[in-house]
């Protein structure tokens, strides 16, 4: 008791907004520790993994060049082909941005394809089309967000498991889409909407601009805003987030609304591409989006992930599809390769998180015992 303990100086209990004090502290910090790189928000670990994904893309490019050297010898064709890959990736890419948020937040959304279909059908009804392009876009986005709101509310406040809630929504939303469209294909008569898919700006398709805008907005939202910080906290340790005063339930709802918003945007893009909408559109988009998120390095258990990784995942899938198409190979073989890539990506993640080394250590112990 008599020993004098090490003295610790406590910070004064001043309110955080004290300009003089934080000014001083700020200088000290920048002197004490190295400045962060601009991409640090996306996580150094994630950045390394993203480099690996870019490596995969380069390998795919080399494979393409090797198998169809006749096409790849023409730079104009290569540029056009790259744009067509991006165009191919654009719709799923937008859905994947929303999915990335949901998965980092510790959930999953199986209903994205169905939401795209419902939003697409709803915005192409005769009544909606009479309101013009703005009315159609507004409708698609509101429908997407409303369905996301239902998903999120069931999960956060109804305590349904995300898998089950969104699986039920998958079935229900496609059913509603079939009901609204009377199982017919609804043609989009609106040239502005249809032009989104056919028009280009400075030689680059509008769809690619939309994808870029959504990805950039998603990156900023995840890495530079309180919303993104809450997403990581809620997915990484919901109990810690709750005990730190974060409204975990409300945030969970918002994540599904965000996913729904992305689906609404994607519905417009897809409708524009097909110049029509029907209940079966965007089939299995949920699997494409989840697969892209996974190979992009986002943990399925939540709490860690990157938007850039997910984007690269989508582009890798689109590139593989393209590679098979230019070589005239079947989609069946293509799906098998995609499946293999998903497994390989998850195995690589496990190596990075050390579970494989644990696995070896455990085996070692078994053999020495």
């Amino acid at each position: 008791m008599s020993d004098s303990p090490p003295t610790t100086k406590l910070p004064a209990q001043s309110p955080p907004v004290d300009p003089a004090e934080t000014e001083v502290a700020g200088h000290k910090a920048s002197a004490g520790t190295a400045r962060l790189s601009w991409w640090h928000g996306d996580g150094g670990d994630g950045a390394r993994r993203n480099l690996a994904l870019i490596g995969v893309l380069l390998i795919l490019f080399v494979i393409g060049a090797a198998t169809r050297s006749d096409l790849y010898s023409n730079p104009d064709w290569v540029w056009a082909n790259m744009l067509s890959i991006l165009k191919l990736a654009s719709v799923v890419g937008v859905v994947t941005v929303g999915m990335t948020f949901v998965i980092i937040g510790g959930g999953i959304d199986l209903s994205v394809g169905a939401i795209v279909a419902l939003a697409g059908v709803w915005c192409t009804t005769v009544a909606t089309q009479s309101f013009g392009a703005a009315g159609m876009i507004f409708t698609a986005i509101v429908v997407g967000m409303a369905v996301g709101l239902v998903n999120g509310t069931l999960i956060a406040y109804g305590r349904l498991v995300p898998f089950i809630a969104t699986l039920a929504m998958l079935v229900a939303a496609r059913g509603l889409a079939a009901e609204i469209s009377d199982k017919q294909t609804q043609i989009s008569q609106n040239s502005t909407i249809n032009g989104i898919a056919s028009n280009s700006l400075l030689g680059i398709p509008l769809l690619v601009y939309i994808l870029a805008a959504v990805v950039i907005a998603g990156w900023v939202l995840l890495n530079r805003t309180t919303f993104g910080r809450r997403t990581v906290a809620v997915g990484g340790n919901p109990e810690a987030a709750r005990l730190a005063g974060i409204n975990v339930k409300l945030h969970t709802v918002l994540l599904y609304v965000l996913s729904g918003l992305c689906c609404g945007i994607a519905a417009i893009m897809l409708t524009a591409q097909a110049t029509s909408a029907q209940a079966a559109m965007a089939n299995l988009y949920e699997l494409d989006a989840i697969a892209a998120v996974i190979i992009g390095g986002t943990l399925l258990s939540g709490g860690r992930g990157t938007i850039v990784g997910s984007l690269l995942g989508v582009i890798i899938f689109a590139t593989i599809t393209n590679l098979f198409a230019i070589n005239g190979l079947s989609t069946e073989a293509q799906n098998m390769v995609k499946g293999g890539i998903i497994v390989a990506a998850v195995l690589i993640q496990q190596v990075q998180f050390g579970s494989l080394s644990q696995f070896f250590r455990r085996n070692n112990r078994l053999t020495t015992s």
Partner: protein, 522 residues
């Protein structure tokens, strides 16, 4: 001790009563930042009930896990039936004849009684499980345990707690265990079920099986035990005391005899306590705690002493809004807090460092600064955009003042020691606005040096006018830090007194005699 009835349990053929089956010498096991076992001696004979006694954190659980093959000791010798052993995994310990019945029974709820009893070593023929044979043998074992009424085909989920425990014991017997370790087996049982448990234990020991029995209830140890080994801070402080005749005072003093020096900062001369900050009145959650009332004033440290399960952590979480009170009120600075809302509590100036740091407080993969600002990042943000530079600066300030090591706030929290992780959690609430700090086991898993620093931090916070409500299993910690102490037992506050009027054995008596009285009442 053993009632010599009919031999209900077949003894292992070569078991000799009185022969030493297990001997531990100087066993050491360290985890990052903690020396969980620091030279344990233990000697267990065939046919005896050997009781392990010790406070929370004394190393009992770690010791069990070493014997069960979950952990491997860093050094020291474990001799099992005369041979030095080191179990590679729980299966190896099982095969050697050591069965462990954990407090949280490790049964598969949706399998039948027989399937659980023979889990992992089902009798097989040509790859098919011999279900009939398995059921017969299970029935036989259950009969030996005096529970022939449990149908082997019943789902374990459908059994009451006592029945599940019998199934756990049946599993031990299905392995022909020579040593059965029981971790607080009575904790989940009603009083009449405890008698049945004792009967089973006696039948086991009568057949030469050794039992290591862990309990907080001295009464039980007196009734069922043969010898007692006392652990304190990972060391054996007394071995092989006679369970029946050793005076309670002796046992308690061996459990508490300090081997770690608690270095508490001097109380400042003027312990001026300000106005009342927190007023809790009649707080109740059925099954957890009832009618808890307390106050904490600005600058005051109030400690709650009690065993795990006495409701102390639940009280803290309910005050904080993480649990919703069934009745009673919590007022902060005169204003009632909305029940069940952590957000409201935080806005009113409460902060909490929860019991389980890793699972309840930290984002382990995230950098230190993001963990420090987890409750405040939104305050530094502008229009929803986070100000990472400012967050890092603030976290850096906290890291410096709390002497966090390492100081680099960009490192993931995972890489920190327990003490520094705790500093991150406490530091989170120093970023302004916190007027009342709820600390649940703030020094669990924290090494001695960091403990002293945390004590100093807590004292200084109080000196600055922050109210502190502290829960700890370590009685000296509560007595040394707190101005006022509440003793909790089975969900109720049984004593409130200034810390100066209490000493360690008085508090321990209050905390444990509750269980004594409960046992006597049965």
């Amino acid at each position: 001790m053993s009632e010599t009835g009919r031999p209900l349990v077949e003894a292992p053929a070569d078991a000799v009563a009185g022969e030493v089956v297990l001997r531990l010498s100087d066993v050491v096991k360290t985890f990052p930042g903690v020396r969980a076992l620091d030279g344990v001696q233990l000697e267990v004979r065939a046919g005896e009930v050997h009781c392990l006694l010790g406070q929370n954190g004394a190393g009992k659980s770690t010791l069990i896990k070493v014997l069960a093959g979950v952990h491997r000791p860093d050094s020291g010798l474990v001799e099992w039936r005369g041979q030095p052993v080191s179990f590679a995994n729980p299966q190896a310990a099982m095969r050697a004849g050591i069965a462990t019945i954990y407090q949280e029974l490790d049964l598969v709820e949706d399998l039948s009684v027989a399937e659980n009893a023979f889990l992992g070593h089902e009798p097989r023929s040509l790859g098919f499980i011999r279900r009939g044979h398995m059921a017969r043998r299970t029935r036989q074992i259950l009969g030996r345990l005096g529970h022939a009424e449990i149908p082997p085909g019943r789902m374990v989920r459908a059994l009451p707690a006592a029945g599940k425990q019998v199934v756990s014991m049946a599993r031990a017997l299905s392995h022909e265990a020579r040593l059965i370790i029981m971790d607080e087996p009575s904790a989940v049982l009603a009083h009449d079920e405890v008698d049945n448990l004792f009967r089973i234990v006696r039948e086991l020991t009568a057949q030469g099986i050794a039992v290591i029995y862990i309990s907080h209830r001295l009464e039980e140890i007196r009734e069922i035990g043969d010898r007692v080994t006392v652990l304190k801070d990972g060391r054996t402080t007394a071995a092989n005391l006679p369970a029946r005749d050793t005076p309670t005072r002796d046992l308690v003093s061996r459990m508490t005899g300090r081997t770690i020096e608690y270095v508490f900062p001097e109380r400042s001369a003027d312990t001026t306590v300000g106005e009342k900050l927190l007023e809790v009145d009649g707080l109740t959650r059925s099954g957890e705690f009832a009618d808890v009332s307390l106050t904490v004033a600005a600058g005051e440290i109030v400690g709650i002493a009690g065993l795990v399960g006495s409701g102390r952590s639940e009280v803290l979480e309910t005050i904080y809004g993480a649990r919703r009170a069934e009745s009673g009120t919590v007022r902060m600075a005169g204003k009632a807090l909305r029940p069940g809302s952590v957000g409201a509590a935080v806005r009113a100036g409460l902060g909490m460092a929860p019991e389980e740091r890793k699972s309840q407080a930290l984002l382990l993969g995230e950098p230190i600064y993001r963990n420090v600002t987890l409750a405040t990042f939104a305050r530094y943000a502008r229009l929803g955009f986070t100000d990472i530079g400012k967050e890092r600066a603030e976290a850096d300030r906290i890291a410096e003042s709390l002497e966090m090591r390492p100081r680099d706030v960009n490192r993931p929290v995972r890489t920190l020691s327990g003490g520094n992780q705790q500093k991150v959690v406490v530091g989170r609430w120093l970023l302004g606005g916190t007027r009342l700090l709820l600390l649940d086991e703030p020094t669990r898993g924290v090494d001695v040096g960091a403990r002293a620093e945390l004590y100093q931090v807590i004292r200084e916070l109080a000196a600055q006018g922050v109210g502190v409500l502290l829960v700890s299993s370590e009685v000296p910690e509560v007595l040394g830090l707190a101005d006022r102490v509440l003793v909790m037992r089975e969900g109720r506050v049984v004593r409130t007194a200034p810390a100066a009027e209490l000493d360690e054995s008085t508090v321990l008596d209050l905390v444990m005699s509750g269980s004594l009285m409960e046992g006597a009442a049965a």
